[in-house]
Structure formats: C-alpha cells, structure tokens
C-alpha cells in the first residue's frame, strides 16, 4: 500500500508578492503583478512582464547574504520561497528530506549580462553559476544537507513534475519528506525567444478569452513541503492538505504546439483523477495552465470538455496576475491552488470578457469567495508535449 502524501508547508515568491499572505491578498483582490519591465535590462520595454518586485540587492538584504556574493536571481528567489516553506512546515532537519527543483533557464540572466566580461576574464565566477544544477545547489545549501537533490527540467511543466517525483519518492518510502516546486528568473534569452515565437501579448494577458493574444512572461519561485502522513503526524506537524493524485502524459504531437484534441492534457488530468480515486464531478476547481496563447487555451479547453463533459467545474488561470513564470509556474500555481483550497475561494481570470467560440467555456472572472472546495486540480503543460496535472484535497 502506497503511503499517503500530505502537505505541511508552502513558500512562494511571484509578481504579486512575497509570501503566502501577500498572495492571498492579491488573489482575492485580483491584483495583477504584470506591468512594464523595470528590473530586467532589455530594449524590449514594450513587452509587459510579471517581475518579482525586488532587485537582487534587496533580495540579498532580505536573506542576509553579502552584497558581493556570487549568486544569480533564480536561486535568490528560490531561497526566499524555500525558507518560507521550511518555516511553514517546521522541518528543521534536512537530512531525511529530498529537494527537487524545477528550472530550465538557470543562471542565464547573469551570463548574458556578463557575457562580454567573461572574455576579458571579469566576473568569471558567474560562469559556474550558469548551470541549472548550480542554481539548485545554491538554493539547497540554505538548509544544510538534503538527502537527495536533483534538478528537473521539462520546460513549463518542470515544477509540477517535481511535485510528481516528490510524491513518488514518498509513496515508495524512499524519503520521508520532499520539498518540491521550481524557480525561474526572467532573462533576455527567453524573452527574446518567446518574442520570436510571436506569442507575447503587448497587454496584460487574457486567458480563455476569445480575443486572447498571447502570454506575459513572469518569474518567481514556489515550493511545497510534501511529507508522508506518518512522518507529519509523528512530529505533530500542521497538515495543510493532501496530495491526492497526479499524472504526466506526453502529447506526442509537436515540439511546441498542443494537439487539437488536447490529448496529452486530457491524459494527464485523467491519470491524476484515477490516481486520486476521484470522479470528474468531485473536482471543485481547476487552476488551468491557461497561458493566454491561442493554441494552449483552445486545446486545454477541449481537453477540459472531454474530461468533464457537461459538468465543467470552476476553472481559471492566474497567469494574468502572476505572468507565466515558466519552470516555476507549476509551483506558483500549486501554492495558489492550495491557498484557494484552504481558504475556500476561487481566483479569477480578471481580464476575461467573452468565451472562446469553439468551446464556449466560461472561466471564473472575478474571485469567488466562500465556495466549498474539497478537491482542486492544478494543470501545467510544457513544450515537448510534456503535460502534467496534480490534485490537492482537504483532509476530512
């Protein structure tokens, strides 16, 4: 019998704030953190993004790190989120804990900043900090030695896949607890890349709307502390909710585009439901991937219709608030889903006006309060056809 996996802590940093209290406030009010670029140095100032509203210096100050220390932006955000998650859970000994970090862009924002310097032998310490794995190690070292540390890199579904891996490690008895999620900073590298894919909205994005015109990139970090129920009970931890089920499937259609039938997304959600032992009608809210691109939102809508039929649960995308934080997105949205579950509210797609013609699906527009939520689903899809879904449930 596989072990039951519970959640005993969360930590989050995104465009809408630092910490879960700040997120709760912004989500309830529908305050967007997407706006004009001010921290990343780029000439693409016409592209709105969801930046974490702190400079590297301010983050170092908050963390008590010397200003001259060599550290990139991704691990800075990661450390803040990890600290909050660890404190929230009350875990102090990392030696029986796995740390699985979803990240893809690594230390790119510093490599591109110091690229020319490298040739002159300046700022070369940042070369070693470029690696995705290096960022993970920098975050991990905040808390001594973890039992198991790895970096998971499956583009925008990285963080949910890290949740899946953590769940597997606990269920199989490999570890007692796992801190899972992701961290990713904006970089010129991927801002340019997404720009050439011509999928960046010049306004605040509008997921699931007929007039949607692309996504807004974002950044941040978020982790959740997964723990076996026994371990959590043995140390009298405050159990927030349960990781009830999860699934990953491959769309096997195209490197970047989703299939018109939403096959991968459908399979991932279906697997998560089966794994959780739930029927579709037991899902009360879906925090959708909902990037705001023509392709994703249509295909995801189709897959939601396939799975839920006539009874579509409340669903929304919170990316018009946070932006799309790529590898961190699944972690940020997992924490948002958990906050929604614990506080019985559904965050909204604030920009929404008219439904997608092909499906007619209506997402939640304004935050719904006092909704009785028992099970919430969090979708996260990545390039490479990598589709994941996980379900969080209240403990009754």
């Amino acid at each position: 019998m596989a072990k039951r996996v519970v959640i005993t802590g969360v930590g989050i940093v995104s465009a809408i704030g630092v910490g879960k209290e700040a997120h709760l406030r912004a989500l309830m009010k529908g305050e967007s953190g997407v706006g004009k670029i001010s921290y990343l140095q780029t000439k693409h100032t016409d592209i709105p993004v969801g930046e974490v509203k702190m400079s590297d210096e301010e983050m170092k100050l908050l963390l008590g790190i010397a200003s001259e220390s060599v550290i990139t932006r991704t691990p800075l955000m990661g450390k803040i989120a990890l600290k909050e998650a660890m404190q929230d859970s009350g875990i102090t000994d990392a030696s029986r804990v796995a740390f699985i970090n979803g990240t893809t862009v690594g230390g790119m924002e510093k490599s591109e900043k110091y690229y020319m310097d490298f040739f002159e032998g300046k700022n070369t310490d940042y070369i070693a900090a470029h690696d995705c794995g290096a960022g993970t190690e920098m975050i991990a070292e905040t808390f001594g030695k973890f039992d198991f540390v790895t970096t998971l890199s499956t583009a925008c579904s990285s963080a949910v896949n890290s949740i899946i891996m953590g769940g597997d490690l606990i269920r199989s008895g490999r570890v007692e607890a796992a801190i899972v999620g992701g961290a990713e900073s904006l970089s010129k590298f991927h801002l340019n890349g997404f720009n050439t894919l011509m999928i960046l909205d010049r306004k605040v994005c509008n997921p699931f709307d007929a007039q949607r015109n692309g996504l807004n990139l974002g950044e941040g970090a978020a982790y959740i502390v997964l723990e076996s129920e026994e371990s959590a009970k043995a140390r009298n931890a405050n159990i927030l909710c349960e990781l009830k089920g999860y699934g990953n499937a491959c769309d096997a259609f195209h490197q970047t585009a989703s299939s018109p039938t939403g096959e991968g997304a459908y399979l991932a959600m279906k697997k998560a439901l089966e794994d959780a032992g739930l029927n579709p009608e037991q899902i009360d809210y879906v925090n959708a991937h909902g990037t705001g691109t023509g392709n994703n939102d249509l295909c995801e809508s189709v897959s939601i219709q396939r799975l839920f039929g006539e009874k579509i649960p409340h669903f929304s995308s919170t990316k018009s608030l946070t932006g799309h934080a790529t590898s961190a997105a699944g972690g940020i949205e997992a924490v948002i889903s958990i906050l929604a579950l614990l506080n019985d509210f559904v965050p909204g797609c604030c920009q929404f006006q008219s439904p997608i013609e092909e499906t007619g699906l209506m997402p939640v527009k304004d935050c719904l309060k006092n909704v009785d939520l028992q099970n919430v689903m969090n979708n996260s899809f990545g390039f490479g056809g990598n589709d994941s879904s996980c379900i969080f449930s209240k403990i009754r």
Binding site: T104, T150, L152, F189, G193, T196, L267, G384, G385
Partner: protein, 213 residues
C-alpha cells in the same frame, strides 16, 4: 523492488555507435558532422531529423535503435511507454547557437526554430512524437553520469499507479561535439531480455564505450 530487464542498449560516444554491444558505425573524420553521419549510416528516412538540434539528433538516433526490436511499428500508439532522460549539460550546446543569433545588435535575427530547442526536454518530446509514446516523459539534470540515479528514476517510473510497461531511459548528453549517450529500453518482463537491469550492468555498458575511445 521489482526486477527490471534490459531489452536493448545503445551507446554513442564521440566516434562510435554501438547497439547491444555490436559496433555499428565509427566516425569517418574528426570534422564530420557525427549525428548526420550516423543518420546516413543507418539509412533512416525522417526529414524532420535535420531540423533538430544535436541533442535531439543523438537522442533520436539512439531511440531508433533501441526501439528497433520492440515488435510494434513507430505508428502504434504507446500509452504504457515512457521516456526518462538525464544529462549534465542540459541544452547548452543549442543555447550557444541561439545566443549567437541574438548577440549582435546589427545583425539581430533571433531564430524561433533554434529557440525551440533551447529546452533539454524537447528530446523526450521528439522521441515521443516519432514513436507515439504517450506515457510519462521527463528530463533530469545531474552533475555526472550515475547508475544509482538512473536506477532511482527507473524505480519511480515503474511505480504501479503509472501503468508503465516499458521505458526508454538513459543518459543523453551533447556539448560542442562531445557526445555521450547511453540509452536503454527496459521492462519488468524478462522474456527476450539481454540481462537484468542492475547498477553493475549499467556501469558496464557505459564503460564499454569509454574504453574503446
């Protein structure tokens, strides 16, 4: 821990391509394009190959061989198959190519087709597209090749709730002409297998390539 068995193993180094221990191809010249040479040497017909970055190319080639004796055609949907890969340099080889398209302000034409491959896990996607694999796909980044990590990943990949029957699992690394690939097709079924999947066997197949260099 359930036993797992190796059904196919592909090793690609800087200059050799081996399948189940048999040396299939040796690189003709140091300055040749090794991935393209292998593609031609294996007489493959998959025009999309030429659009891929090097990491995808070598992953694709290894998968072609590893899936050769699987018993079903590439077109057959495989919901109970997964692709789980690891490496240490992520997509750095292609990141460098992409950086070159945005580095020069006076000749600034970032290429979308190159950008797409700046993600390490696209190789799992390319393999899944080719072989219609719909199960789990994942990509891990580790400092160096480690049989123990591979074993952990395989163990999790076969957990019963995933319903996976067979998987492609291995190390696929490519950076600036340095190619280091070890790809296995493994399952829990011992029938027609080459050997049991153990850390020792994994090490042996990895070293086999290293020594012949």
């Amino acid at each position: 821990m359930e036993k797992k068995y190796i059904h196919s193993v592909v090793r690609i180094t800087n200059n050799q391509l081996m399948h189940n221990g048999e040396l299939l191809l040796t690189r003709s010249a140091e300055d040749s394009s090794w991935p393209v040479e292998m593609y031609r040497g294996l007489h493959l017909q998959y025009p999309k190959f030429f659009k891929m970055d090097n990491l995808c190319k070598v992953g694709f080639l290894a998968a072609e061989l590893a899936m050769k004796d699987v018993g079903v055609s590439p077109e057959t949907e495989k919901p109970d198959f997964s692709v789980l890969l690891l490496n240490s340099t992520s997509s750095l080889d292609n990141d460098i190519s992409y950086q070159q398209t945005i580095a020069d302000e006076t000749n600034y034409f970032p290429s979308p087709a190159v950008f797409v491959y700046t993600l390490a896990n696209i190789v799992t996607g390319e393999i899944a597209i080719r072989h219609k694999i719909k199960g789990e796909t994942s990509f891990y980044i580790q400092e160096k090749f480690s049989p123990a990590t591979l074993s952990d990943v395989a163990e999790l990949g076969f957990m019963p709730h995933k319903g996976i029957r067979e998987m492609l699992i291995g190390w696929v690394d490519f950076l600036e002409d340095k190619c280091d690939v070890l790809l296995f097709r493994i399952s829990v079924n011992p029938e027609n297998s080459i050997s049991e999947w153990t850390d020792e066997e994994v090490s042996r197949w990895y070293e086999a390539g290293v020594q012949k260099k």
